[in-house]
């Protein structure tokens, strides 16, 4: 029973990370946009959905929990709002950074993501500061006993993943995706072919941000509690880069495979490490995972630069 529960909860997280990896694939795999600020869109999606679905605290609780607003809306509206607000942030980030060369874009996005995290941390009026928000509503939670709830949630996130996968595939296989890949290969050439490079980069960034916002919202309702500490660069950004790089940049199936493998390494190594190390090291042991993820990334880049699947040769297929 314990193992099964662990597996289901593992599958939910792997599915959510698959969504993030597809979002990154749209931006980096297809368009060549170096977004090192995934954690920012992750946080925006999560917090937006939380504030949309939570009630405004009343009575004695209001003294302990501060929220800018609480709309008490249904789960689906919350998730959608998470995607939309994240897309709007993408639009703003794009307006500020898309004319930068790729290396600078990476630096700018990592800075923006950290700014977003620290903003939630310090502006307590917005979403309760470092303590974060708890008790996020979970859809359909009363149709099964609580111990089985994760099965329902796995189904929900799987539906989201399928829809997002199809939407991203439609996009990339179409002339739209062809323009993005042309921009990745040679911006000047794409412009000489009459394509408005900045406009297409913006669309890619915003679509990717929308997907990441959805992922963030789905994460928030799964863990039912969020605080700024979750959205640190490793957990929120670089683990997703490792997933996409391992699975195969430029391939949505690869993105999913990579997400599952890396999340397996991440979550199972904890169990293993805790069994191996003496109890006095137990609190420090999880940090070995950081080394593992880094090592994995190095091995992939050196030995399998295309990842497990890699981009297909003939991508345009509509």
């Amino acid at each position: 029973m314990g193992i099964l529960n662990f597996l289901i909860s593992f599958a939910v997280m792997a599915t959510i990370y698959s969504i993030f990896a597809i979002g990154l694939n749209v931006q980096w795999g297809y368009t060549g946009l170096l977004n090192f600020g995934i954690a920012g869109f992750f946080a925006v999606g999560a917090y937006t959905s939380a504030l949309f679905t939570l009630k405004m605290p009343t009575g004695a609780i209001a003294g302990y929990i501060k929220q800018a607003f609480g709309l008490n809306m249904p789960f689906l509206i919350g998730v959608l709002a998470g995607g939309i607000v994240s897309a709007i942030i993408g639009l703003i980030v794009g307006a500020l950074t898309l004319r930068l060369k790729e290396g600078y874009l990476a630096i700018a996005t990592i800075g923006i993501a950290e700014t977003i995290r620290l903003f939630f941390n310090n502006e307590a009026w917005l979403a309760n500061g470092p303590q974060g928000l708890v008790g996020l509503p979970q859809p359909l939670h009363n149709i099964v006993p609580p111990s089985f709830y994760n099965y329902i949630y796995l189904l929900i996130v799987a539906v989201f993943l399928v829809i997002i996968y199809i939407a991203a595939e439609k996009g990339i296989r179409s002339p739209w995706g062809r323009v993005l890949r042309a921009i990745r290969e040679d911006e000047v050439m794409a412009a000489a072919d009459g394509k408005n490079v900045v406009a297409f980069k913006m669309q890619s960034l915003v679509f990717g941000a929308f997907i990441m916002g959805i992922g963030g919202a789905l994460y928030a309702h799964f863990s039912a509690a969020i605080q700024p500490g979750v959205f640190e660069p490793l957990f929120g950004t670089f683990i997703i880069w490792t997933m996409l790089t391992l699975g195969g940049t430029g391939n949505n199936k690869g993105a999913i495979i990579g997400a599952w493998i890396v999340w397996a390494v991440w979550s199972w190594s904890t169990l293993l490490i805790n069994k191996v190390v003496p109890p006095s090291f137990a609190t420090r042991a999880p940090f070995i995972r950081y080394v593992l993820i880094g090592l994995l990334l190095v091995v992939i880049i050196v030995r399998y630069p295309k990842g497990i699947l890699g981009e297909e040769k003939q991508v345009s297929k509509f």
Binding site: S174, R178, R181, V188, M189, A191, Q314
Partner: protein, 261 residues
């Protein structure tokens, strides 16, 4: 030959572009007559490619005016001049390396409804129909330049000469009013040069395209271009038929004795 009777399709009026102290283009004026192949030659550093960059909107001129089909186009960006009917190639051939030859061609045509992401979701049949037409057109074009057998190859894997033919095929997909070829003959073998020359002539004859062509490769220029404009030190030196250019002492001077000046 009297060109003054036809209205020029492209006119440059006193165009200047300085890079710091370098006068790359220093007051160039010339007209390009429609439905002809005009050559643009001159020694290295004469300002030919910069002139192309200015016409196509890759650079903005510091001074001067550019008219295309009677409309002022200086100040437009590269992707905007394309939609005015102007298509250019690059001195060092560029191709979308990790995309197939076929995809390189299918990218080019303007007006693709599938370039709108929402159409790919909500109007897939329309997109599919257009893709089928584009594919047929791309295959025909590839056949005419002799690259059909390479349609599924990565463009980056082509030889230098094949890349020039790919470049030509891409301009054919654009259906422009004018094509600016920047050294289309660089790195091609004699067979490929013949295909290039034939196709360029055919474009002008059948599709009523105008061509402005920069060439180092004199064989190709003298073969297909008339008239020829000669540039030197950022200025227009002269203009004339291939014979006139070939016999002009000033041209010989800049090509052979430029250093002694």
């Amino acid at each position: 030959m009297n060109l003054s009777t036809t209205k020029p399709i492209l006119s440059l009026r006193n165009i200047r572009k300085y890079f710091g102290g370098v006068k790359a283009v220093d007051g160039v004026s010339f007209d390009v007559a429609p439905h002809r192949i005009t050559g643009l030659i001159g020694p290295n550093g004469a300002g030919k490619t910069t002139t192309f960059n200015l016409i196509s909107g890759f650079y903005k001129p510091d001074e001067g005016e550019i008219y295309f089909k009677g409309e002022r186009i200086d100040g437009l960006q590269l992707h905007e001049t394309f939609h005015k009917g102007l298509c250019r190639t690059f001195q060092i051939s560029r191709e979308l390396k990790l995309m197939t030859v076929l995809e390189n061609l299918m990218l080019v045509p303007p007006g693709q409804i599938g370039e709108n992401l929402f159409n790919t979701w909500f109007n897939p049949n329309g997109v599919r129909k257009q893709e089928r037409e584009l594919r047929d057109k791309a295959l025909k074009t590839l056949e005419s330049v002799g690259l059909l057998h390479l349609k599924d190859e990565y463009a980056g894997n082509l030889s230098g000469g094949q890349k020039r033919l790919l470049e030509l095929a891409r301009t054919m997909m654009a259906k422009p009013d004018i094509i600016l070829f920047d050294e289309p003959g660089a790195g091609v073998n004699p067979t490929e040069r013949k295909i290039l020359a034939d196709r360029i002539r055919q474009l002008v004859k059948d599709e009523k395209v105008t061509v402005l062509l920069i060439g180092h490769e004199m064989e190709l220029v003298m073969d297909v271009c008339n008239p020829i404009i000669v540039m030197d030190h950022g200025k227009k030196l002269m203009e004339g038929t291939p014979e006139e250019v070939g016999n002009d002492p000033r041209v010989l001077e800049v090509y052979l004795g430029g250093a002694s000046k």
